[in-house]
Subunit: 342 residues, 2 copies
């Protein structure tokens, strides 16, 4: 065997449809038809084509297909952080919803920064994704609407609507109400709230739920009892330290999210304040790990996986030029062991 011949076998030669066609003695069109089942191909040609494909280890070039077809069968996802258990749960839902239809996900993250988000969406569009799913973020509605002139968009956690933009949100307000209702039902009156970033839609909804529920029960809201957090553990820790230092009386804490609750929990632990015996604690999100904190955290579950399924389905609908629709999954209070009956 000559060296050249040998090289041929070794090199990572990606074969093309043309090579298959000529090796099989048919036209490229026929091979294409065979591959896609676009039209009948006679039994004998079919057989040789199959054999040649196998010999050459031919795999279609999706790039070329996409260019020709005008669709990449890819949906772009703008997340905010690759490391967020919150977003990633939704991502899994999206993937599960669209993968049967042959779509893959192209994921980019915007890190809660409007400029970066826009830049990423631009990249996504440049790569010709068929649609983009936007998970919350700080872009303006107008920016989203502008992008939607170029690509269909489903926006989660935003209530923007447009010709090719479909947004939907979970009802964070109601979730917060449920949490506070529960605390009140357990006899709590002095309830502190560690809020999320006030430029964050969901954080504001949760705070509003807190206020309104208190009001509905004619419980006087002590403004000193709501302190700022930032949706992170360290934020929760700091916030609670502040609260404790202020020497305020309270029997329960409603944290804007689970991470905040974890931080608060640690602050309490450090001072030997027991949960729930001394202070009750409820979170928001129901992260994977909240079932395994000590004590297991009572929290409001966000049905992120289902939301992801919803995002995926809506996207599929838009791509099929149908009206996107579907229920919005409900939040629900998961009662575990971090709240005490007063």
């Amino acid at each position: 065997m000559s060296p050249e011949r040998f090289m041929k076998n070794v090199e990572s030669s990606t074969s093309t449809l043309y090579q298959v066609a000529s090796a099989a003695g048919v036209s490229p069109a026929t091979v294409s038809r065979f591959l896609n089942g676009t039209a009948k191909v006679s039994e004998d040609k079919r057989r040789t084509i199959e054999r040649v494909i196998d010999e050459l280890n031919y795999k279609p070039n999706r790039l070329a297909q996409s260019l020709k077809i005008g669709s990449t069968r890819t949906i772009g996802v703008l997340t905010q952080s690759l490391e967020s258990g919150y977003f990633n749960r939704a991502m899994v839902g999206i993937e599960d919803a669209v993968k049967a239809a042959g779509y893959a996900l192209l994921i980019m993250s915007g890190h809660w920064h409007a400029d970066e988000e826009a830049e990423r969406v631009e990249l996504l569009i440049g790569r010709r994704v068929d649609g983009v799913a936007i998970l919350t973020g700080n872009m303006s509605d107008q920016q989203i609407l502008d992008f939607s002139k170029r690509v269909p968009i489903v926006a989660f956690g935003r209530d923007v609507q447009g010709a090719r933009t479909h947004g939907f949100c979970l009802d964070n307000y109601r979730g917060a109400c449920e949490a506070v209702e529960y605390l009140i039902a357990q006899g709590h009156r002095r309830i502190a709230h560690i809020a999320g970033p006030d430029d964050h839609r969901d954080a504001r909804a949760r705070l509003a739920g807190y206020h309104d529920t208190l009001a509905r029960h004619r419980i006087e809201a002590d403004p000193r009892l709501v302190v700022a957090g930032d949706f992170s553990e360290s934020g929760g820790l700091l916030a609670l330290n502040g609260l404790l230092a202020a020497n305020l009386r309270f029997t329960a804490i409603f944290a804007a999210n689970d991470l905040t609750a974890y931080g608060a929990r640690l602050a309490l632990y450090r001072r030997n304040i027991r949960v729930p015996e001394d202070i009750s604690l409820v979170g928001f999100d129901d992260l994977e790990s909240s079932m395994y904190t000590t004590p297991p955290l009572t929290t409001v579950r966000q049905p992120l996986y289902d939301a992801g399924i919803g995002i995926g389905r809506r996207m599929l609908a838009m791509l099929a030029h149908e009206q996107p629709e579907g229920e919005v999954p409900q939040l629900s209070l998961i009662v575990r062991e971090s709240v005490r009956l007063l």
Copy 2:
């Protein structure tokens, strides 16, 4: 304004380089050269091209570029789970390492299932990624080597090597040794181990580290003290329940990973066994949240972000036909508050 004219403005008309060219009165080649800085373009043409691009809101079609160029500037990542804080930390590292070079990540997950992994890699290659990064998984080394005939591969958590395959692992064995050494230094002798899945390379390394360290200190290993887990919280919980039920004496637990430790922690909590006063606990991984458990968990940190950077850099090197190289980041014991001095 006629309806037709109006439609033209509204439609999501993606303009092409040809349109730009003809509108600017130059050849497509010139526009391309301007766009890529491939050759000098006279000042006046340059200006009109710029203007037309702006007017038409032209954006290059990366698909067509890639097809022509033969590179998608995309690196495929085979992860095992989109929801794993462990893998995602590495992912962020990879992204940070390659994004400056203009690469994006195409992420697919194999769910620890060899067949699915192979299928995903096949999809990745079909989409013509320039390289693929494999994060552990259950494929055989041979499969990886086979894939590497078609695309350069860097495999993390595997020690496969080949012409276009570069694998590297973190030293889990040493990490485990350090953890157990520490426990021994704190006076512990009866140390239980909740192992990981025994078909998992890292799990085996950690178990070996446990055994060898005990042996090195001439501490008799009680085989009943090592119980099976599965790297999950529930596995840890169950394992510890078993251990407790067997009524064995031990003062410390070395869990195969942090999730397992969380589960064990809860099992202890349920029985009012204090950590670390009654039982000491050390984990492995140092997940984000381990700093905020109660008590904060002493654990072996896996420098996953750095590993991700390493993966990215090695990939870049391979793509540049250079020899991939670089340090392997070291594991380190993070001492927090879950171990007691005996």
